[in-house]
Amino acid sequence: MILFVLSIISFAREGTFENQERRIDVVARRFYYSPDTIVVNRGDRVILRLISEDVQHGLYIDGYDLNVTAYPGSDGRVSFVADRTGKFTFRCSVTCGMHHPYMVGYLKVLPNKYFYISLWTVLAILAALLLRISL
């Protein structure tokens, strides 16, 4: 019951953030992004500039189906409203070398409901089990 209440509180936090416009410069080089993690709140407008420092790179955001590419001297830009919460991987969409398939970063749109769901599920199972054992 306590866990259930806590999870409700977690979800209730949704929508309590003030929406902002966030301008983020992401530098891409083989085989990582800097910053490698972008954290925004749900509803924020994100204006993302991709800057490549070596070869042509891309940035595809899982779940948002957005793609932008850049090469040295030519930045890429994409703008979107972060309307889906959770953790989304963004990954290079242009083959840039041997570790290209693993060139990834994270976009975290708060509140991260999947994290809470997963964690509370595990804790609820554990609690139910301990309760069953103790009865």
């Binding site: 779940g63 953790k87 290209h100 398939p101």
Partner: protein, 468 residues
């Protein structure tokens, strides 16, 4: 007595015999099965070796060998084959084909005279998973290279083929598969989760059958190549699903059953080698997830040896995690379990080994989740390369121009956490039953508490990696 049920739902003794249909049995008894599938896979392996050799040191995602092996095969193996269908891959694996041919002097029919080759028995001290654990760990050290570069893929697959062939000429039957192959150990351990099994039907028939042709062989088939006793299989660990016992049993007393998932875990006595296999698999998952699916660029640099000191740090951390930290955590949970249970007569070593089986469902689920993170974003590379396997500009199936496109990639993390949570539920269910078997009476429930908390912690760490 209360009926034993998996997750409190499915009776653990529920079985459905797939071979009760005469055409299924006839199919499996044919000497062409599974040979034709092995031959098909051997053809694929030849293509993979050739294309990966041609690909050299290029970026591997557009290479047939790399994409077919590390994107398609690995994902299908870890998401579908092992968790559901036991050692199905072993039954159609092409690596032992040539060695077995040389060993038997026959491809399909049965040679009744003694085997060719030295036919030596494997040393008794090595009849366990320790060597495989070492080989597997050694292979993981190079994963940052061979999973992304064609030539390294060629080298590792070529070496596997040569090692399998040579060892089959030296040692008897499938010694390579049982004690050496790096992908055999975890398949054996995780195959205990599977929903299929090969077992005898009527124990009385086997008891009265003095010649035990399933083990010794006859004119219809070879004695069990995996050197187990098919008339008395207790778990899936070492059954390679080669189907020879279907051919050699004169009474059609072998059967393939559908069963509830994970029933073998309840009856299995884990050895220390298997316990460490479970730790190594979990430790490797953590290392691989952080190196390949997290954004830490320095780990990717380290994994490819840039700088070399970083590579060695990564390997040391990987070894420490797999061989020391996880076993220590498990030992602590086992010790607390023994103390809290009040059952002081129980042997700590046995508690440690037996309860390590709790890591099998969650470990297998973690690997399925990891593999989902490979196939969903990178599966479209496979569709591309099948139209141009050698990079010659072909467009055989009209798919070589299809642009890279991740498949439902927004669902990767939710699906990964769902799979791990399901694995956790099976781990907890298994752990509770193992605890009931390990401790007596009321002490079982008390003894389970530290193990449940420990397993929950491991699961939460995995979920934190995936979702946060």
């Amino acid at each position: 007595m209360r009926e034993d049920r998996i997750l409190g739902i499915i009776p653990s003794d529920w079985r459905f015999e797939l071979t009760k249909f005469s055409y299924v049995r006839a199919f499996l008894k044919s000497r062409w099965i599974p040979f034709v599938f092995i031959l098909l896979n051997a053809s694929f392996l030849t293509l993979i070796l050739y294309s990966s050799f041609r690909g050299g040191f290029s970026a591997g995602n557009y290479n047939f060998g790399v994409s077919m092996t590390w994107v398609l095969w690995w994902s299908v193996l870890m998401i579908l084959m092992v968790p559901f269908f036991s050692r199905l891959w072993c039954s159609i694996c092409p690596f032992p084909l040539f060695g077995e041919w040389l060993q038997r002097g026959r491809l399909i029919t049965v040679r009744e005279s003694p085997f060719l080759g030295l036919n030596k028995p494997w040393p008794k001290g090595l009849r366990n998973m320790w060597l495989m654990n070492g080989v597997f760990l050694s292979v993981t050290f190079l994963a940052g290279l061979f999973t992304v570069r064609p030539f390294e893929t060629f080298l590792i697959l070529g070496l596997m083929f040569i090692a399998a062939t040579i060892s089959m000429l030296v040692w008897q039957r499938r010694t390579f598969c049982l004690y050496i192959c790096p992908v055999s150990g975890f398949q054996g351990l995780y195959s205990n989760l599977a929903i299929i099994e090969i077992r005898r039907k009527d124990p009385e028939i086997c008891k009265n059958h003095k010649t035990k042709t399933c083990f010794s062989g006859n004119r219809d088939g070879y004695g069990c190549p995996w050197m187990i006793t098919p008339y008395d299989i207790r778990d899936n660990t070492n059954c390679g699903l080669c189907l020879e016992c279907f051919k050699t049993c004169p009474f059609d007393n072998m059967a393939i059953y559908l069963r509830p998932p994970g029933v073998d875990l309840l009856n299995k006595d884990m050895g220390m080698d298997e316990a460490w296999k479970a730790f190594i698999m979990l430790g490797t998952f953590f290392t691989f997830y952080e190196s390949f699916q997290s954004p830490h660029g320095f780990l990717k640099d380290w994994f490819r040896g840039e700088p070399l000191s970083g590579y060695f740090i990564l390997i040391l951390v990987h070894l420490f995690l797999s061989l020391i930290l996880l076993p220590l955590l498990h030992l602590t949970a086992s010790y607390l379990s023994k103390v809290i249970s009040g059952d002081r007569d129980k042997n700590l070593r046995r508690i440690f080994a037996n309860t390590s089986i709790m890591l099998v469902p969650v470990g297998s689920a973690a690997w399925a989740a990891f593999s989902l993170g490979i196939i969903m974003p990178n599966g479209s590379y496979v569709i591309q390369v099948i139209s141009d396997p050698f990079g010659l500009g072909w467009n055989l199936l009209g798919t070589s121009d299809i642009p890279w496109r991740p498949c439902l990639s927004g669902l990767i993390h939710p699906l990964q956490s769902l799979i791990v949570t399901i694995g956790f539920i099976f781990s907890i269910d298994t752990g509770y039953r193992i605890s009931q078997k390990t401790f007596s009476g009321d002490s079982a429930a008390k003894g389970f508490i530290p193990l449940a908390i420990y397993n929950s912690l491991i699961t939460m760490i995995i979920l934190i990696l995936i979702t946060i």
